[in-house]
């Protein structure tokens, strides 16, 4: 495995590969994320998605692996780039698509929008659009799990650019001091929005090279290898659950598309893009499964199932009505109102 951005960098070795059942689930989830987000792009081009959207195309292995390895009552905290993380917790596709389209059937009835996907019943505790803010918040969930001895773990996803904001530092120290059951997963896709992380960061690996500042192990893994990611997920979740405290994982990856819907991603060298397209996590995984004896028809069946499901979800979303004015003044407060005076 060669990664031009970090020649010779060791990545964490994967242990024994996961079971076939898990591997097929990982494959299915990655395909689901891929096909879903491609469809999001299509409906955006059709003018059905306003505002902004941030795709995880190319980064699917990370959220898929954690989603598969987490316990049902564990918690996910994600960013504005959160479709993948939401789907990975088993949230159905239709309400996500409807949310992006600003419909009443949306996950938050259109009130939150693409950057704030949340489904508490699935442990998807929110997508946060201020860089860094959710790291301290995820700590709070972990603190509550620890206090209540519930065995739950919080998993908090963020990008490379997020490692340079103050909240990152405060959250990592806080989690380490109290040995909180939390896993911080840095999806290092080499770019903030349009600026290379290397241009604005004092160390090469913005998360891994800073783990020591919080007394944590340096964990740098190949984020495009679903088996490596699953092993990493299992190990870090286990560590958190057993009371040994937080982990900070840096997973190397790349986004196939621009930062957000408005961005063609032209600031990236062609050569770099081409190399990373070769390292597509789904292509790699499909090839591996086939080479290890999984029948092509099994994968083909998954592919077509997912395609159907995405098509259905899209139609359901499209059929959902606009949210309706009655929602505007609702649910600021826990009594359902937004009354601030009598």
């Amino acid at each position: 495995m060669s990664m031009t951005y970090a020649p010779g960098e060791p990545t964490q070795p994967a242990g024994a590969p996961p079971s076939l059942q898990v591997r097929l689930a990982l494959y299915r989830r990655m395909v689901e994320l891929r096909v879903f987000e491609k469809r999001v792009y299509d409906v955006f081009l059709q003018g059905l998605v306003k505002g902004t959207t941030h795709l995880s195309l190319g980064e699917e292995a990370i959220s898929a692996a954690y989603g598969e390895a987490m316990r049902k009552d564990d918690w996910t905290f994600a960013t504005y780039r959160g479709h993948a993380h939401t789907l990975s917790r088993g949230v159905p596709m239709a309400p996500i698509m409807a949310e992006l389209m600003g419909r009443r059937g949306g996950l938050m009835a259109g009130k939150g929008g693409s950057m704030h996907l949340t489904s508490v019943e699935h442990g998807m505790m929110g997508s946060y659009a201020i860089v860094g803010a959710h790291l301290p918040i995820a700590n709070g969930a972990a603190l509550s799990a620890k206090y209540r001895k519930s065995g739950q773990v919080a998993v908090c996803f963020f990008g490379d650019g997020t490692t340079n904001i103050g909240a990152f530092h405060e959250a990592l120290n806080f989690a380490a001091v109290w040995k909180l059951p939390i896993v911080f997963v840095c999806e290092n896709n080499l770019y903030m929005e349009y600026t290379a992380i290397s241009a604005v960061t004092a160390v090469e690996h913005p998360a891994a090279d800073r783990a020591g500042a919080y007394g944590l192990e340096r964990i740098l893994v190949d984020g495009n290898d679903a088996d490596v990611m699953y092993e990493t997920a299992t190990r870090t979740l286990e560590r958190a659950r057993s009371g040994e405290g937080p982990s900070l994982v840096e997973a190397l990856t790349y986004r196939h598309a621009g930062h957000s819907r408005a961005d063609p991603g032209k600031y990236r060298p062609d050569q770099e893009v081409a190399e990373w397209m070769q390292r597509d996590p789904i292509d790699i995984y499909r090839a591996r499964l086939l080479s290890q004896g999984v029948d092509a028809s099994v994968l083909g069946r998954i592919d077509s199932d997912v395609a159907d499901a995405v098509a259905v979800a899209t139609e359901v979303a499209k059929a959902s009505p606009p949210p309706g004015e009655d929602l505007i003044m609702k649910d600021l407060w826990s009594d359902g109102s937004s009354t601030w005076r009598n």
Partner: protein, 325 residues
Amino acid sequence: MAELSLREAVGRAIAQEMRRDPNVVFMGEDVAAAGGVFKSTVGLLEEFGPERVIDTPISEQAILGAIMGASMTGLRPIAEIMYSDFFAVCWDLVVNQMAKTRYMTNGQVSLPLVMKTGNGGGLRFGAQHSQSIENWAMAVPGIKVVMPSTPRDLIGLFAASVRDDDPVIFLEQKALYASKGEVEDGEIVEPLGKAAIRRQGGDATIVTIGTMVPRALEAADRLHQEEGISCTVIDLRTLIPLDAACVLDMVSATGRLFTVEENPRVLGWGAEIASIVADEIFYDLDGPLVRIATPYIPLPAAGELEDKTIPSVDAIVETIRKRMG
């Protein structure tokens, strides 16, 4: 019945709620082992232990994040932000996260949490340790804003804040920590959103809160004795929810409004009150709406300067006398 200082009331209020509900935890800088820099939380660590009473690093974002995440997942946490000025380093957690999350998620998430803090001037601490941030908080939809002026109110409003399912900023006026008041034994709970009419009078209505309440009352007494001007004094007690009905009733009755505000004048809460009154009961008014507030400057440190900056009893009397004349 006991006479308590506002400082002592803080400790009693927290203990009352922690005894009642094991999901209440409390964290902040130096609040546990040392009992707080204002010595208002002495004894809590001993009674409730280090899992419920937590000394944190100087990481205000981590502190507010921790209580937010904890409140989303079953606890009812309380955090202390030592001086209210320090909210500036963790304001994102308040205004972008706590205030908006319930609304954005279409009601999926509840955030029953309290942020208590030492607020206001008068102690010669200078511009970065003396601010009145009630106006910052009030301007952000989604945060309740509470500011008691007596030890009894402090306990009752604190209890209501902890039991409330929404995020609350609870402002303890540093200048009142030493002030005393009678407090009955037993549990005390006071509803949020109900102003207290501290004094009745027919000529003008003074609307105020916090440290300015005792000053407004003293000014009202003097105006009565010296000038024969008789004032109603309303202690708002909470800014969000705002007891606008009480204000509108009293101003309708008296025809005149004066606000007495510690916060700097520009966009102080009095402006909102004035704009409500000027819209809703315009035809009941007998004269200009007048705001008495700290001027548009940071607070100077030297006592002589600070005392001329925050509204004093003299300044209140003087302004009302002149404007009622």
